[in-house]
Symmetry: none
Subunit: 205 residues, 4 copies
């Protein structure tokens, strides 16, 4: 390895690092102020640079959310696929998916908030068709788990699975809006309580 190559390698790594850093900042700001209401200048301020300077790193404001969301979704689907591909029963799959979801919130909180708040509006844009696709897969995945559980006699049959699916989906993701990594409850503990509540209900025996 020539010094030149080592240099450019470390430069490329540094550049990638800077990019990731900037995206983390942007995600934080988009999540707290709302994507539409956030100005590029606000993101730049938070990153300690001037508005125009961001355009050296990204093509547009849209490109930033795009990268934030697609990075998160790619990782999320990898985790979900690992779960659904491991041949677990419905109840165990339910358990694992919920747990993974709260871990995602832990790891990608701002991205999840953006996903939750802006998906519907962004989805109208051709650039974000993958969001629509992701929502469709999400729905199918959950309905399949729920239906499997009902068939196996693990879940009640007198409830509308479409309705249950929506309740689960919403409650899980919306947790991103109040979750703090440094709060008293860990992501796994929250998942555990959530599972208890949904599976057994809050009624005392």
């Amino acid at each position: 390895m020539s010094p030149r190559r080592r240099d450019s390698a470390s430069t490329a790594a540094a550049r990638a690092g800077r990019r990731t850093e900037l995206l983390a900042t942007a995600a934080e700001v988009f999540a707290s102020r709302g994507y539409a209401a956030t100005t590029v200048r606000e993101v730049a301020d938070a990153a300690g640079m001037l508005g125009g300077s961001l355009y050296y790193h990204f093509d547009s404001k849209e490109a930033m959310v795009d990268e934030i969301l697609s990075t998160f979704l790619t990782d999320m689907w990898a985790a979900y696929d690992r779960v659904t591909g491991s041949g677990l029963g419905a109840r165990e799959t339910f358990h694992a998916l919920i747990t993974e979801s709260f871990r995602m919130i832990d790891r990608y909180r701002p991205a999840v908030v953006i996903y939750q708040n802006e998906s519907k509006h962004l989805a109208a844009n051709p650039r974000f068709t993958y969001l629509v696709e992701s929502m469709r897969r999400f729905r199918e995945m959950w309905l399949s788990v729920l239906d499997r559980g009902v068939l196996a006699g693990e879940f009640r049959a007198d409830l509308d699975t479409g309705l249950i699916y929506r309740f689960i989906r919403d409650t899980v993701w919306v947790a991103a809006s109040w979750y703090r990594g440094d709060g008293p409850l860990s992501a796994d503990e929250i998942a555990r309580q959530y599972i208890v509540m949904v599976l057994e209900g809050i009624t005392a025996d």
Copy 2:
């Protein structure tokens, strides 16, 4: 009643009606596009008038959301107060509050969507401090019901009531984003299934 009085009465009523009509339209648009992302022109288009014409009826875009949200919240608290003031036990109160909430969604769907999506951002504005106040009351009301239920042995004691409160709050309101008045399930039926799920869980006996 003299003709004069009937006239002015019908005029005032017509004016109030137009105002309500316009607010309903605005709420619909704000809910579907997002408040910040909605232009005044879009609201006006939906109402069949020009952008500037809205200002004959309202002081500002902000004044419109304000009226939409405060009208909804006033009615909502009247309903909640009726419930909490009627001396029911924790479980019955839980039941009644959930049912009322879904009825609110049925009656004020767009307002609830706006409340859900924009409250956090609007609350920073002094004009909307009543939102913060409403959120506080909401929290206290639910925590009191949950705590009462735990003490009475009606609800499980091994779950974090703060967490349960958040799950309930989010799931109930977020339902506004997919609820359609003309869907296959009525608001009361949705409430019923939701109550079953949360109280008894989805596990089959």
Copy 3:
């Protein structure tokens, strides 16, 4: 005279009276807020009617200032012409013109304020060429008095009459901006002191 004619006569008189009343109100508002900064609605408010209603009486906002200014200027020139046509010497003419000017301020204060503040801007509009013409006549009138006085040995010859003219003109009219009809000094008393100051100076003997 038939009753009909009497009726229409009194109606016409009433209409003219209302018009004058409205113009007086408009002049007051234009004078205090500035013509450009005054909205038609503000004038209407002051007159106790709605914005659109003024258009029953006047063609436009511009038509209002027009009538305000031309009425005032017509009366002013009638008074000035009476003075300059009465064969007085320079000093007496000076005296009389100043006195008449302060009387004008007394009678037409708001109109004078508008004239003072807006003439330059309005003059660009073809409708108001009479303002330019009036300013020209005004200048000629004063220069003629001053020149006549210098030639007659009544006024000092070592001062620039163009300059003196401007000082006189400005000070006289600008007085409209602070003059109150109910103040401690009458218009004639103010004129007297002004004449003393300009003719004899403020130095003690």
Copy 4:
């Protein structure tokens, strides 16, 4: 000085220079068209840029007049304070204040025109309370000079000093509306003739 420091110094200076330049342009336009009647676009046109570009340099149209007026007033009061602090007699103080005033007009003509035409309207805005304060100080300063002169037997006692003060104030400032730096009379010459007129009167001996 390192090149770095020279660079940043020249940059800062250039920025301040541009700002001053833009304010001079804005002042010219505000003075000739009137503040309320001037559009931001007109100012931008005169500066050779687009309307929105001005907002890179200034927060608002209001911020521009603010800076124009406060810069002028700061300098003006420095000059007046120098005069009143130098222990001159009333007559000499009178002389010096008038001279300084015309020099101000020479140096800040557009600002003075704006001050003269818009002060009353702007003063209602909390941002411009310093205008009210400045007017108060101005009045006190002149009354004190005039009263001192009367007591010392230098000025006539049979005139109302409040009236004289107003005449002086108005005439001096209103001169800004016709003064041209390139006219035949210098600021000092105009001041001299003005002083002669007011102190000795225009009557020939």
